[in-house]
Amino acid sequence: MKKLRKIAAWLLVTVFAMVLMADFLAPASYETQFRESPSASPSQGHPLGTDELGRDRLSRLLHGSRISLLLAPAAAFLTALVAGLVGGVAGYLGGRLERMAMGLTDLFLSLPWFFLLITVRATLPLNVSPLVSVLITFALLGLLGWAASARVVCAGARALRNADFILQARACGCPRARLLLRHVLPNLRPVLLAQFWISIPVFILGEANLGLLGLGVSEPLPSWGNLLRGLESFSTLGFNPSILAPLALLVVVVSCFQLILSREDLPS
């Protein structure tokens, strides 16, 4: 198991290093359209072939991975932070505050996010650069995805509230803030970490789905989301299996994230 975790860690480091060096490794610019060779099969010049507009698939994969691998964890971190704050405090303090916080969470969970996101996008300014559009997309995902995680964190905090060591600390006169920061939050770490890791692929796929609604990353910037849209035409796989590359990379990265989590870190 240890060996497997080491391999996973190395794989992740390699993937991160590759995407950070995308500018040097990519055979071409991710936006250059080689219009004479659209939808080309893999070749020396284009190791993964080209997309429908003749753009180099490998270059787009490297740059798209950079965006998704940096921004999806950032959005997941935002979610975990809000979930930890709302769920942790509500679960630990309990009573009316917990009921109010969970009521708010339920309200968030019951809102039709699909339509709300459409409305949000419709009200955003149109003239934004692709980079700003990608930041808006992931920020929206991060800010709107905390509710389910908050419920899990709240349940964990509630369980801790009555734990023996908390009672003992309280009996020793430990102040409430210190109790929360030094005893409760560290013990919620596995739950928060699990929510963080789970959120990453969810946000990557969420961004892909939003792309279909016009909320995703705008052209010409690539992301795993809009690269995965290539799989919509499943029957074209026979012509060029290299369009599976973003999916394969997504599976590898998410699996590696799961493997490097220690068993103790995972919630029971």
């Binding site: 507009l53 996008r121 149109l126 016009g214 052209e219 035409s233």
Partner: protein
């Protein structure tokens, strides 16, 4: 010996009938409707599926031949347009019956016209005939002669009758009694419609055999295009009337004999700039968008040939203007599509005081030239076209931001709030006559997309277009009308309020089991000659 001879003769007869095409073999043609027909009443048709049913079941006085684009007599043996399009006289075909056996007479035509123009019915088909205040009058001269008099001249009057399915005034089955080749025998909402052969149909083939050849048509309601493709591949359906280029190429890859490319269709893809004066845009951008030179420069920077080749895999042609070359009569042959010429684009912009430093184009006041284009999310070909235009414009230092929006938000922006800079959309054209485009070209119209609902034309060229489209609408001589609309096309080409990008080809899929089929560019592309279509017995056995 005589028994043997009889057996030989019979055998020869069967062999012969099996080998000579079997037009008389009947059979059931199957294809899909993309949605449930909203109505089966032929005068209330407003959607494509209902239109299909009307086409297959309705008997009309005059039909536009989809192949030649000429008018041909149907239930009317002859007709004459009089008083500059104010009245039309028909001599009706005799000995014709509706599907329930009720005879067809001039009374039925009068009844249909009354129903068509009845304000209570709100017939979308009837709207085309509303030329002035008042209702049309019908004058019957015998049982098979009728004159319809309208309150004011109607442009292209005879062509409009292609859409009017005649109802029976006497049949107890009301609009279910039809004079077309088929009638609706069964309808399971959400699942299918079964049309059966009208045994009273009046047409006969050259050999005197009663048409149509087919016994029935089964129309399955299927909105999912992937499933439609799968069913076609399995041989469960015989036709796909309209195909996207992606599906077309996929089928062509499997068998060339399944697909038909009928050439450029009437549909176009275009981009336009928001020229509404009250739009919430910075003043300098409004000035760009209202400048002809700016619009022409952007048009010159766009490589339409590349868009046709890359996005549509060569199954589209660079578009010239509001009329597609597929429209044989109305297309202005003198015009050519705006060519791709970045140098010309730069020259036009520099003439207007723009400066290009090699990477960024700036206007006279130093604003970098940057604008956004909105298009509907999920439409891959439009997203790809936008990405190609983005790269084309980058070559002349213009930065284009692409925004894909859900359709309701997009419509809200282009029709109500006018909070957009440029828009990329397509126009589906079903009518050959330019009168159908009146609501686009009149400056006061709501569909005058770049600057709708003007109280009076804001520019001289829009005033001229208003004058010309009104003149062509009130003229009855087709040549005069054509001359007027040619001029409209020239002004639109010169001023470029719409940057016409491509005319997509009409693509369809046809099973080899179907005979006598000749797909065309006009709707309905594949089954326009439905009476003549039949299934080939030999081929249906080996169908994919």
């Amino acid at each position: 010996m005589s028994r043997l001879r009889t057996a030989c003769i019979l055998l020869a007869y069967f062999c012969l009938s099996a080998s000579t095409g079997v037009a008389q073999s009947g059979g059931e043609l199957r294809f899909c409707l993309r949605s449930e027909p909203k109505t089966l009443h032929p005068l209330q048709v407003a959607d494509e599926s209902s239109e299909t049913i009307r086409y297959l079941t309705g008997g009309v006085l005059i039909r536009v031949n989809r192949l030649t684009q000429e008018l041909v007599p149907e239930l009317a043996a002859s007709w004459k347009v009089q008083h500059g399009g104010r009245s039309i006289s028909f001599k009706l075909r005799e000995g014709v019956s509706f599907s329930d056996g009720t005879p067809f007479t001039a009374e039925d035509v009068a009844f249909t016209i009354r129903a068509l123009m009845d304000p209570q019915l709100h017939s979308p088909t009837g709207d085309s005939f509303r030329s002035g205040k008042g209702t049309p009058r019908t004058v019957l001269s015998g049982s098979h002669k009728i004159t319809i008099i309208f309150p004011a001249p109607v442009a292209g009057l005879d062509r409009l009758f292609d859409q009017v399915a005649i109802l029976s005034s006497k049949s107890p089955r009301k609009e279910q009694a039809v004079a077309g080749p088929f009638f609706v025998a069964e309808h399971k909402p959400g699942a299918f419609l079964l049309l059966r052969r009208n045994t009273h149909y009046w047409k006969r083939d050259a050999a005197g055999r009663r048409l149509p050849y087919l016994d029935s048509i089964r129309l399955d309601i299927q909105s999912n295009r992937d499933i439609e493709m799968l069913r076609f591949r399995r041989g469960e359906i015989h036709l796909i009337n309209s195909l996207d280029v992606e599906y077309f190429d996929r089928l062509a890859g499997e068998s060339d004999s399944w697909v038909r490319d009928s050439g450029p269709s009437l549909d176009s893809e275009q981009m336009w700039f928001n020229q509404v004066l009250s739009a919430p845009l910075p003043a300098h951008k409004k000035a760009w968008f209202r400048s002809k030179e700016f619009r022409r420069a952007v048009s010159s920077a766009i490589n339409r040939e590349d868009i046709s080749r890359v996005v549509f895999n060569g199954r589209a042609r660079p578009a010239t203007g509001p009329v597609s070359p597929a429209n044989k009569f109305w297309f202005n042959q003198k015009l050519q599509p705006h060519g791709h010429n970045p140098q010309e684009a730069l020259r036009r912009l520099v003439q207007q005081g723009f400066r290009f430093d090699g990477t960024v184009m700036r206007d006279r006041e130093g604003h970098p030239v940057e604008f956004s284009v909105i298009t509907n999310a999920g439409n891959k070909s439009r997203e790809r076209m936008a990405a190609m235009i983005q790269q084309d414009l980058a070559q002349v230092g213009i930065r284009l931001n692409i925004v894909t929006l859900d359709f309701p938000s997009l419509i809200e922006r282009i029709t109500r709030t006018f909070d957009y800079e440029a828009c990329l959309l397509g126009l589906v054209n079903v009518d050959l006559d330019p009168n159908a485009q009146m609501n686009v070209w009149l400056s006061s119209a709501s569909n005058h997309q770049w600057n709708p609902n003007q109280k009076s034309p804001e520019t001289a060229w829009e005033a001229e277009i208003d004058r010309l489209v009104q003149a062509q609408a009130s003229a009855s001589d087709p040549k005069k009308r054509k001359a007027y609309f040619d001029k409209v096309q020239e002004i639109v080409w010169e001023e470029a309020p719409f940057l016409y990008l491509v005319n997509k080809n009409a693509l369809s899929a046809v099973s080899p089991a179907v005979a006598n089929i000749t797909p065309v560019v006009l709707r309905p592309q594949t089954y326009w000659n439905i009476e003549q279509i039949h299934l080939s017995a030999q081929r249906s056995a080996s169908q994919p």
